[in-house]
């Protein structure tokens, strides 16, 4: 069977599964490419970054047209996130592949634990206080389910921007989207409504991933015959996943993801620690 076809089918599954549990395809595709298909971890990370760009670019136009992206906030955070992505890409070039594999395994464990926390104790989004006069960037959006205009004020811009650098760095280093960090930072720390936080994060991912992709491209780490099926497969899988998401239990999916993530994490950690 053609390796391109296998990567394409695996990417459809990863994109679909990532979309169903709301974490994107990158965190699923890298372990599958390395553990299941035996690709070098840096090549897998580079291919995943191309998939991240494709996912962001295919979802963002709809979010932009519907006014759900806080574009000015996104651009502000993008300055830091892109710098972080660039630093992550450069750092990855100097790190041993086994260390990256180990770090990815640890990231998978963290994401699985975060998911368990969400199942046991869902985050309470901060309430919007209309009378609040504290300083911050003001904005609003139209809630698509009710047609209501929701006003909000963005808080803690400086720590939020610094954490965006970290999100970009993780993205560039490990080839994941960075939404795992960006969305909770915007929602819980900066008081951005969850709907705007997720769409703004998706909008930011493409430019963040480009900053690190340039470094991977120059290092000859982008294999076009791996990047192409991964990017196309993740786009198709994410669309299928979004359609299926309403019909399946999110908690059951999250538990399934936790199981798969922990198995892959153990495999990656073992490989990373091997002499």
């Amino acid at each position: 069977v053609s390796s391109v076809l296998v990567a394409f089918l695996v990417a459809i599954g990863a994109g679909g599964f990532g979309s169903l549990v709301g974490i994107g395809g990158g965190i699923v595709i890298v372990p599958l490419l390395t553990v299941a298909l035996g690709h070098d971890v840096k090549t897998a990370i580079a291919a995943s970054l191309i998939g991240v760009i494709a996912t962001s670019l295919s979802a963002s136009p709809r979010f932009l047209r519907s006014g759900l992206v806080d574009r000015q906030l996104g651009l502000l955070l993008l300055v830091a996130a892109a710098l972080g992505g660039l630093a992550g890409g450069v750092t990855a070039g100097y790190l041993d592949g086994r260390l990256l594999t180990l770090l990815f395994g640890l990231l998978l464990v963290l994401v699985a634990l975060q998911m368990l926390r969400e199942i046991l104790r869902p985050d309470q989004p901060p309430a919007v206080d209309e009378t609040d006069q504290a300083p911050g960037l003001s904005s609003s959006y139209v809630e698509p389910t009710s047609g209501e205009v929701v006003a909000y004020r963005v808080r803690r811009v400086v720590p939020g921007t610094l954490l965006s650098f970290l999100a970009g760095n993780v993205s560039g280093l490990l080839g994941v989207g960075g939404g795992v960090i960006n969305v909770p930072v915007m929602n819980l720390l900066m008081h951005v409504p969850i709907r705007v936080a997720t769409t703004t994060s998706t909008y930011m991912l493409a430019a963040t991933a480009v900053a690190s992709s340039i470094v991977y491209l120059d290092a000859g780490r982008i294999d076009p015959l791996l990047a192409a099926p991964v990017a196309l497969g993740i786009i198709i899988g994410a669309r299928l996943g979004a359609r299926l998401a309403m019909r399946v239990s999110q908690d059951a999916l999250r538990l399934a993801f936790m199981g798969v993530a922990l198995v892959l994490a153990m495999s990656m950690i073992r490989e990373g620690l091997a002499p």
């Binding site: 191309i50 670019l57 295919s58 963002s60 136009p61 340039i214 491209l217």
Partner: protein, 110 residues
Amino acid sequence: MASRRLTSATMTAGVLVSAACFALAIVLELAGGDTSGGRMSDLSAMLDGLVAMAPWAWAGVGTYVLIVTPALALVATTFEYWRAGNRAAAGLAVLVLLVLLLGCLVAVVR
């Protein structure tokens, strides 16, 4: 409020062109096309590969289109904000573009 139409159109066009290149590359590979790969930095080999319908060359073009599209979308965003008179937001978009340019410089220097 600045229009978002140009940015959205740029992103959509980039995704469609790259997806078409990727799909063609996959079909060519499955049809038993030239399976030899090539370095993406070797642009003349890529051009030859495009003419010869080599899968890796079409996949490479799609990858380049994807990488360039966010930068083009940022140029579109800068234009939209500038036209709407929002100089601060236009400046932020330019700053992000400068970071991407810095990435190119870092890649060249390394």
